[in-house]
């Protein structure tokens, strides 16, 4: 008799751990032919609120690390994804693409992580400024992370989309609560295993699988979320996100009208880091 394989249980990723949904619910993740691949956690509203609380707790410590250190951690994430490349390729293939296409998506995801890793100790030099004000004052502006960011990941490409939106958020010192692709959730959970082994502090990135129609409104309205990344949401339903976000003047980063995820020119940019920062200006008199 051939060996029976051991299948993976797909859970949430919150606070560096892999809990089940407190709701006890799952939903089936289907492949492109609608066969069941696995049962994944159906994250609840409470799971989401827990994730925001954990992300808030992790934010100050993450932001206090040097950009150099955050860059190294993100680079380590790239290493871990590279190490699991075959797993990612298999999971992407189950959603339809050919092996070659899946391989390209994984490669692109790794390269994008490396690209953003390098920005950790540089973006503030691009977006900051010494301001030549009148009078005897030293005046400097520098970007700081906005805080806790809710990311609505695109439905597809599930891995590349998630990586493309997470990396610019996290590299500046934000922490993130990420809603995985609802249709293709497996790569997100496998990605969280890469995060968990990459020296990323617990709570910096939290990934929930579940129903977006249930979770997106809660994420948008949450008073302790500083910004929402709506790229993965698209323009459909953006008004509801923005109306809910207005209750606490949450920043909503709107999607462009069309997105080419595989195109570096349209889907990776230091400006995407700046989108999730706040500019702080400090004045001090000069004198004897």
């Amino acid at each position: 008799m051939s060996r029976v394989d051991v299948r993976k249980t797909y859970k949430l990723y919150v606070g560096g751990a892999f809990p089940r949904s407190e709701s006890g619910r799952t939903y089936p993740a289907l492949d492109a032919a609608d066969s069941v691949l696995a049962n994944v956690a159906d994250g609840s509203r409470k799971d989401l609120r827990d994730a925001v609380r954990v992300a808030r707790g992790a934010q100050a410590g993450w932001a206090e690390r040097s950009g150099y250190n955050r860059g190294q951690v993100l680079y380590r994430v790239a290493e871990m994804v590279e190490d699991r490349a075959d797993t990612f390729v298999d999971q992407i293939r189950a959603s339809g693409p050919t092996r070659a296409q899946a391989k390209r998506e994984v490669d692109r995801s790794i390269d994008r992580l490396v690209w953003y890793a390098g920005w950790g100790d540089k973006f503030a030099q691009v977006f900051g400024n010494l301001n030549p004000v009148q009078g005897a004052f030293f005046n400097i502006s520098a970007p700081e992370p906005t805080g806790v960011v809710g990311i609505v990941s695109p439905e597809e490409p599930a891995l590349l989309g998630l990586v493309s939106r997470m990396a610019p958020v996290v590299i500046s010192g934000n922490t993130a609560v990420l809603l995985a692709s609802e249709r293709w959730p497996l790569t997100a959970i496998t990605f969280s295993e890469a995060l968990a082994t990459a020296d990323l502090p617990a709570g910096v990135v939290n990934i929930l699988t579940g129903r977006k129609d249930k979770l997106v409104p809660v994420l948008s309205a949450h008073m302790d979320v500083n910004a929402i990344d709506a790229w993965g949401n698209g323009w459909q339903g953006l008004d509801a996100i923005e109306i809910a976000a207005a209750d606490s003047v949450t920043r909503v980063v709107r999607p462009p009208r069309s997105i080419e995820w595989a195109d570096d020119r349209s889907s990776q940019s230091p400006h995407m880091i700046a989108d999730f920062t706040e500019l702080k200006t400090v004045w001090h008199p000069k004198g004897l």
Partner: protein, 491 residues
């Protein structure tokens, strides 16, 4: 010699009252009524309605102002749309020269604008004369220079104007807030429909005439006057590409909701409840001046006012005593008097709001202190006010009063100072006073605020970006960053 010493002469008691030194108002001509400024000329409103604007220091009416309804707003937006095509194609160096010209003309007529600002808004003439109007000219001069240099501000990108900017501004720094919005908008090739606050429309309307004298093409700059509904019509107009708002957080949230899902771009500069942190090693006399300036500048009608004093416990009694003594020397009264430190509250409604929150402060158990100054019989005035024994949960520690009212709290450690300083939903500005450099930088890193003034307060410059964190809004005005809200293709 001794026997020759003459008897001491009687010393007359010295009168320390200042002689009145009133700024002349004869250089200002105010019309009986003002139309809307649309497409380069003053127009009668389709609404056929007018409201009066008064001098808050005397409660006397100054003029009647057209009230723009939806049709009027539509005319203004259409004029701006029509002007947009040629204005955006006007070479940057030519747009620059219009703005330089405007800056120069403001300088030439600075005194006139200063007096008008004080008459209509109630701020002390020394502030409108030495702060507001010089800065207005400086903002236009600064952004004029950017108009033909945008590709250097954003290397490798293709900055393009957004189109028509609908700008809604407050009454606390009427012409200055206008310049923060209009100068970058025009420099970047956008056209503008401006909605000034209903209590302070006069300087914007005077500026509109100045733009015509400067030869600015018709329709590039338009003014629709009126209250909230006029602003709401402007924000909602489908021909507006960009909304810029400065004002209260409540209205800012309503605007954010109202344009949700639309393609309009938005920047918000909203309220604040800024912490002003004084450590025990601070230069005390300078810190006292900084704190006084932080909260009593412009009657406290300042979104970035340092309205929460956090003073280290070891020096708190001494510091508050000195602060009280300093308050006795503030001169409250006629805004036109060049000696006046604290002028008139901008409107009766604002006076009511301040009075209400001060009553709440007393009810909640905080200790109130006001100097023994006399207030004029007429007009809207409020005594500079301190509250001691304020706790974090008091409404006067959480809500923006937008008046000359300082809530005083204490702290022991820097960590506690940060905890308390950041304990509001706002995040516009903050102040720190200490002689220890490393502590300044440590504090500056942790204060949730878009502007941190260390060993100074309320300093502004066109080259310096200004704007908030959290519920104080988003987007920056001033500096290179102040160009971003008016451009596409820069990300």
């Amino acid at each position: 010699m001794n026997e020759k010493t003459p008897a001491k002469p009687e010393i007359a008691p010295v009168d320390f009252e200042y002689a009145s030194s009133r700024e002349a108002t004869d250089l200002v001509e105010i019309d009986d009524s003002y139309g809307l400024w649309i497409n380069g000329a003053s127009r009668s409103p389709a609404s056929k309605r007018y409201f009066s604007t008064i001098n808050p220091a005397t409660e006397e009416p100054l003029a009647r102002i057209a009230e723009a309804n939806e049709r009027d707003v539509d005319r203004a937006v259409k004029a701006a749309r029509k002007a947009s095509d040629s204005w955006r194609r006007t070479p940057g160096k030519e747009r620059a020269k219009y703005l330089f010209r405007i800056a120069r003309m403001i300088q030439e007529r600075a005194r006139e604008f200063a007096v008008l600002e004080t008459l209509d808004g109630g701020k002390p003439i020394k502030e409108s004369r030495d702060f507001d109007i010089p800065l207005v000219a400086a903002y236009f001069f600064y952004y004029a220079g950017w108009a033909d240099k945008l590709e250097y501000a954003f290397p490798g990108l293709k900055p393009e104007p957004l189109g028509v900017a609908g700008q809604v501004i407050p009454w606390n720094f009427p012409l200055l807030m206008m310049s923060w919005k209009v100068a970058p908008a025009l420099a970047t090739g956008n056209t503008v429909v401006l909605k000034p606050a209903e209590t302070t429309s006069l300087t914007a309307l005077a500026f509109a005439r100045l733009t015509a004298e400067a030869g600015l093409p018709s329709g590039v700059f338009n003014v629709v006057t009126g209250a909230g509904p006029t602003g709401a019509s402007l924000v909602a107009h489908p021909g507006v590409d960009k909304v810029a708002f400065t004002g209260s957080t409540a209205v800012g949230k309503a605007i954010q909701r109202s344009i949700a899902g639309s393609p309009k771009h938005l920047t918000l500069e909203l309220g604040g409840k800024a912490p002003h942190v004084v450590f025990d090693d601070a230069p005390i006399d300078q810190a006292i001046e900084g704190v006084v300036n932080g909260i009593f500048f412009n009657q406290g009608h300042v979104c970035c006012a340092g309205s929460r004093l956090l003073v280290q416990e070891s020096i708190a009694d001494h510091f508050v005593d000195k602060l009280k003594r300093r308050l006795e020397t503030l001169r409250v009264g006629d805004p036109l008097d060049k000696n006046t430190d604290v002028g008139a509250i901008n409107s009766e409604a604002q006076l009511d709001k301040i009075t209400e929150l001060v009553d709440v402060g007393i009810e909640e158990g905080a200790g109130i202190y006001q100097p023994a100054c006399e207030l004029p019989d007429r007009g809207y005035f409020f005594k500079p006010t301190l509250f001691t024994g304020v706790s974090q949960s008091h409404r006067i520690a959480q809500e923006e009063i937008f008046g000359p009212v300082l809530s005083i709290m204490t702290f022991r450690t820097p960590a506690e100072a940060i905890e308390k300083a950041n304990n509001t939903p706002y995040g516009l500005s903050a102040g720190v006073w200490t002689t220890k450099g490393s502590r300044i930088l440590w504090m500056a890193d942790r204060l949730k605020a878009g502007v941190v003034w260390a060993n100074t307060y309320n300093k502004f410059d066109p080259a310096s970006p200004f704007g908030g964190y959290q519920e104080s809004g988003f987007g920056r005005e001033g500096g290179k960053h102040g160009l971003l809200p008016y451009l596409s293709g820069v990300r």
